[in-house]
Every structure is written in C-alpha cells, then in structure tokens.
Symmetry: C2
Subunit: 226 residues, 2 copies
C-alpha cells in the first residue's frame, strides 16, 4: 500500500442559468499550480470523508453554496498521467445543476469566484476544459431523458420558464405549443399547482412544480440542429 | 501532497450473454483481503498508466480477454471510507459489454475466474455488489437509448438474436413484430448485410450489422414491467 499512491481530489462543474445564459462557476486560483488562472472549484478529499461528502464540503468552502438546492451527481474520474504538475492526482468530477442563487463568495484558497457564461470560458487550469465539456454534454443529454431541467427552476414555474431552460442549455429555439404538449404529456414531469402567474399581457400562465418522474416517457429529444 | 493519499484501483463489471442468461465475470480472490471470496476483476493503477489503460491491462492479466472486442466505459468512482480494510482505496469502476468469448483464464493474483449468471451472484468482496448493481442498471438503461445491445452480438446477427439480447438484459419478453419495426425504424441502429441466415424452418432471416448511430432516435423503452 505504499506504492502507487495518488492524491484524490473532487472538482465541481456547477451550472446555473442567469440572464438567459448558461453559466459555470469558476474559481481564480490563489495558490500554485496555475496560480491566477481560472479553474473549476474543488480540492482534496479528506481522510474521513467519502467522495460525495468532499464534493459538498468543497462547494460550501469555495462558494457558500449548497448543491443540494439543485441536483448533484458524479460526472466521472479523470486520472491521466501528468494532469497535475504536483504529482499523481486523480480527480472525481461532479456535475451540479442549480437554480439562480446569490453571488458566490471566494473561499480560502481561491482568489475569486465568478459565474461565467459557458460560451465565453477561456483556457482553464489542469484538464478542466475537458471536464467542463463533458459536464455540458451530460447536462444537455440529461434534459432529454430526465426531468432535471427543473433543477434550474424555482420551486414553482411556468411552462414558458421551463422552455427557457431547455432553449438555454440546448442553445436552440423550441416551438412553444409543441413544447407545452410534450411537457404535459410526459407522465409525472410537471404537476399543476392550481395557481397562476401574473403576466403583463395575455391570460395568466399556469404554475407548475416538478412531478415524481425520474425518467421522461417519452423523452424530449434535442432538435437535430442543437 | 504527502497527506491524504489514497491507493487507486480499477474494477471491471464485465457482462456477456451465455446460454440465454446475462453473466458477469468474477474472480475468486487468491490473496487477502477477502481471500477465497468472489470479486470483480481489477487491481491497482500503475504510476505510468491512465485509468482507461489500467482497466484494459487488468482485464488482460486476469482473464486474457480484450474489452475492446465489445464496449468499455467508465461506470463511476467509489471511495467510501472503510470500503477496503487495507486503508484508503478509491476505485474507478468500468463497465464492459462483450460478445460470447472463450472461457477466461485466471491471472496472477486470482485463484479462479468464472462467468456467473447475474441472478445467482452471492456476496462479493469489498463494495462490489453495489458496483455490480450499478453496472447492471447502467447496461439496462443504455439499451434504451444507444445501439450498445449490438456489443453482445457477433459482427452479423438477426433481428431475433438482437431481440434475444434485449429480452435477456431486461429480463422480459418483447413482441417480435413490434421489436422488428422499432429496430429497423431507429435510424442507423442496424444495417442489412444483404445476406441471410439459414434457419430450421420458415423463410431465411436477414442478417444485419451495427449501423453508425450513437444514440437511438426514437429510443427503445423498457416495458413498464421490466
């Protein structure tokens, strides 16, 4: 057990929708390696915590956010030789989909934290560009087969707001009438609250909450162009 | 980097179909811990190899099989405190779907290797029952949305043989006519070879090969009973 040891870290792809764009939380690194560069938030797994616990703790430390306000899942392990100049480091990446939350607070080893539109993210430290790319594709695919788009929404929402999530994550336009039919036709995706939202014009829009479904039957597939 | 080090292993959930049942390759452990117990094949990641490389090497060492004959993907990382009595060990689990291959050969630190029907697998070493369960669910879900059922098939196959894969993995019966319509209707799932298989009775069955599709549109969904 003294041979072939590695440091184990967790890194987090935290996604939210702000101002109609899909945004990722990035940390400006306050310590070497890659000091001053943007990176995904994360850190070392402690001896007494499991991987999921480390992900939740790191998020709290770095940002003050609680990922359980939305959805958190493991994205995958990344362990290429040389991915960290300090030595062998295997990282377990997590993906979180979050509703719009208060601005993050930089933690102890971060010089700053900021939500950035995913389209305008530049070079990142380590192999974090690849991890971010994998996280974005996972999120886009999950919206097809699961009700996880609701993780980006407040507890109650209109179908138009839910459509806005799909359009933002998939970077495409969807036909409102067709979308409404599919969402209300997928069993257990959304449930009417019985209340309506006040709108500037037209008739009031129904408010929904997330239903009990774990998978969408039938799924909502991305248009071929998305 | 001297604190919080862990050993990193890979473990493999290797699935194939033999004699009409879904089977998993298990190793009888030849060394402590859990000596003499069944476990998933796997081992430590070496300093000069990445995670995928370790998975391929371990499989060859333990069994003589090449997972690239079928399909290999990362299943997830498992790192609960106490999952290995030797100390902190984080394992990266892989899932492989394989066509029926020659019998495995036990490697250096395995007392034996055997394909076992997944329904009759008993207690396994470490947290390998949980990993196997996750691998089975991943395989069942992947058959809905991807053409990966063909990874269990020889290079050319009939639609009836492909249906047999679905029925075996999902443990359910599927209507032959309905299945044929769905498979040939999902763009790029299978391609006719122009050849036919000789059958005992009835007209000869068309032979197909896997098509170029990465995802099934529309997907083949599990019956509610599966």
């Amino acid at each position: 057990m003294t041979l072939n040891m590695a440091a184990v870290t967790v890194d987090l792809v935290l996604l939210t929708i702000r101002g109609g764009t899909l945004q990722v939380l990035l940390i400006r690194r306050g310590i070497p390696p890659f000091e001053g560069q943007w990176a995904l938030p994360g850190g070392f797994v402690l001896p007494d915590e499991d991987l999921d616990g480390a992900a939740v703790r790191e998020l709290r430390e770095e940002t003050g956010l609680d990922p359980r306000a939305g959805h958190l899942e493991q994205l995958g392990a990344y362990g290429a030789v040389g991915r960290d100049p300090r030595g062998r480091v295997v990282t377990i990446a997590y993906l979180a989909l979050l509703p719009d939350l208060p601005a993050p607070v930089a933690g102890s080893d971060a010089a700053g934290a900021a939500w950035q539109p995913v389209e305008s993210v530049g070079a990142l430290a380590f192999d974090h560009e690849r991890i971010l790319g994998d996280g974005l594709e996972r999120a886009r695919a999950k919206l097809e087969y699961t009700p996880l788009a609701t993780a980006f929404c407040p507890p109650v929402f209109t179908v138009a707001e839910l459509r806005g999530v799909y359009e933002t994550v998939w970077q495409t336009r969807l036909d409102p009438r067709n979308f409404h039919r599919k969402v209300t036709g997928a069993e257990g995706f959304v449930e009417p609250t019985g209340q309506t939202a006040i709108r500037d014009r037209g008739r009031p829009a129904q408010l929904f909450r997330r239903g009990p479904a774990k998978l969408l039957h039938p799924p909502l597939l991305r248009p071929a162009s998305a």
